[in-house]
């Protein structure tokens, strides 16, 4: 399997990636047993600890986004494959012990493997009287029709829920209150992605779809899945944003006067230049629809290796949610000053 990637052996990717990430951020991260990642300076006992387990290969999400204001325990799996249930259970147990037996929140991206393993992990933890509650996050409108939101997969829009959950936990809010608001935020979150070029899957060296130089697809997943729609000819940046924003806004039902949070997430190899050009158009669209955008987040956060493309995520945000979105955040690859 020939592939142009700076890796050694595919089977060593997970270990080398996690070691490199953690050892280069000794002020923020540390390793626990079994390559589980924790904050170097843990959250105080008595506050809700947040655990997340997912496949690696989406860096900086979410192993490089762990820290003050976000989650506490990251359980890395294999490339694009969630960690096994036993390892997630270990992560939950670490949170339970280190938090002084404070109710634990387990965030779960809505992907088959993540949900299955998290479900087993939660059962294993509860069998030991650990108080843990999972919340499943979903936002991709290409993956299931309106009305079947719970079948949609988790994409970059999860960052809204992570940010709000993390901020509330730092503020010492009880888990029930955090869960209520996170579910509200997640319910109003919509994401749609566009791919210009596929990525090479590092474990196999394969591309999962093929596009001609003048083609794009709308609705790909975060693991290089091609999605249900065939390719279309690449129009201008403005025309692409017109299509994507229209579908996101229509599905989300955002209406005149709403305050919204916005993420334009690069999928890996898209230049920031392109993301800003896309945002420039988005701002015009939002203005014309009288949607007020609050502190947009633009950059490569939830990536799909070197896939070229982006996703647009939006959610509605009341005053309190906006405050949590603005509050201080200190992680290796996402920082908010809190000013």
């Amino acid at each position: 399997m020939a592939m142009k990637k700076l890796i050694n052996r595919p089977e060593d990717i997970a270990k080398e990636l996690i070691n490199g990430l953690v050892n280069s951020h000794p002020d923020l991260l540390r390793l626990a047993e079994n390559d589980i990642v924790l904050r170097a300076r843990p959250k105080e006992q008595g506050k809700v600890w947040i655990v997340f387990g997912q496949g690696i290969g989406h860096e900086p999400a979410f192993d490089g986004l762990l820290g003050y204001g976000l989650h506490d325990v990251e359980v890395p799996g294999g490339i694009f494959a969630c960690a096994g249930a036993e390892k997630i259970y270990q992560g939950i147990k670490l949170a339970w012990e280190f938090s002084g037996h404070t109710p634990v929140l387990e965030l779960v991206a809505n992907h088959e493997g993540d949900v299955l393993n998290a479900g087993m992990a939660v059962e294993m933890a509860r069998a030991e009287d650990i108080d843990v509650e999972p919340v499943i996050l979903y936002d991709d409108i290409a993956s299931a029709p309106k009305g079947q939101e719970q079948k949609r997969r988790g994409m970059a829009g999860q960052l809204f829920s992570f940010k709000v959950a993390g901020a509330m936990a730092e503020a010492g809010k009880p888990r029930d209150e955090i869960i209520r608001r996170v579910k509200e935020v997640n319910n109003s979150t919509r994401t749609l992605a566009v791919a210009l070029r596929p990525c090479t899957i590092p474990t196999t060296g394969q591309l999962l779809f093929h596009l001609e130089e003048d083609e794009i697809i709308i609705g790909p997943g975060v693991h290089d899945e091609a999605g249900p729609e065939g390719p279309i000819k690449l129009p201008s940046a403005n025309a692409v944003m017109d299509i994507v924003a229209e579908r996101v806004i229509a599905d989300g039902g955002y209406s005149s006067g709403d305050e919204v949070l916005v993420i334009i997430n690069g999928s890996g190899s898209t230049a920031l230049m392109e993301l800003f050009i896309l945002y420039n158009r988005l701002e015009q669209i939002l203005k014309s629809r009288k949607l007020k955008v609050h502190r947009p987040l633009i950059g490569n956060y939830v990536t799909t290796q070197e896939m070229a493309g982006f996703s647009l995520s939006m959610c509605t945000a009341d005053e309190e949610t906006r405050r949590y979105w603005d509050s201080r955040l200190v992680t290796p690859y996402w920082k908010v000053t809190g000013d």
Binding site: C82, G113, N117, M120, P228
Partner: protein, 224 residues
């Protein structure tokens, strides 16, 4: 040909070792199936899991059948990861759970026991994923295989024939996934574009049953 009527602890250990060979042989084929409707790594993942399990088998040589299957299940969950790890791990954990609740202490398992174990594994996988047949998953191979074992048990068929039937049922079930539209996992997101491709998990299920069936046939040929 001598008829084989039981499987003991050593047989289970042998079968687990053989499954490592099976998935080593089939990994490229399974990856090619997965590249059509998934992310192309199913063969590598399964092979990695059974390889890790095989490497630890010597450490499990004093365990009961139930404990061995439980170890096997967790080993697969840990080293395969993802949905396949949870599902194929549960295939073994489910059998272990049936053993622990119905067969504790029993060292030689008959068809009736094995059939009960496979039915329990099927039930647990369906419950775990809230899954049904017809969704283009391994259940489309596992459910007919478990039904074939139950039927064979009710008819008191010889063990070898029972697993031949189960293997055949798993094969047909796996082939039937070609015409199905994916409703689960990554194939779901291809919608009707998933039609025309085999489900790799269903084929893995067939390969597991084929390995067991071939093992029993070989033992029967040797005189157990």
């Amino acid at each position: 040909m001598t008829s084989v009527s039981i499987l003991n602890r050593r047989d289970f250990q042998n079968i687990l070792a053989l499954l490592n060979n099976t998935f080593e042989e089939q990994k490229t084929y399974l990856c090619s199936l997965d590249a059509e409707i998934g992310d192309g790594d199913h063969g590598f993942s399964m092979s990695r899991g059974f390889n890790a399990l095989a490497a630890n088998l010597d450490m499990y040589s004093t365990l009961s059948i139930g404990s061995l299957l439980k170890k096997a299940g967790f080993e697969l969950i840990n080293s395969i990861g993802g949905a396949a790890g949870a599902i194929f791990g549960t295939l073994f954990l489910g059998q272990a759970a049936y053993y622990e609740s119905h067969l504790v202490g029993k060292e030689e398992l008959e068809l009736q026991d094995l059939s009960g174990m496979w039915s329990e594994a099927l039930a647990r996988i369906k419950a775990r994923g809230d899954a049904q047949p017809g969704e283009k998953t391994m259940i489309d191979a596992l459910e007919p295989a478990a039904a074939a074992l139950s039927q064979a048990s009710a008819q008191s068929l010889p063990l070898a024939l029972a697993f031949q039937n189960a293997c055949q049922a798993a094969w047909q079930g796996a082939q039937s996934t070609r015409e199905m539209q994916g409703k689960r996992g990554r194939a779901k997101f291809l919608a009707e574009r998933s039609i025309g491709h085999l489900d790799p998990g269903a084929m893995s299920t067939y390969f597991i049953l084929k390995t067991i069936s071939d093992y029993i046939d070989l033992q029967a040929g040797k005189g157990h």
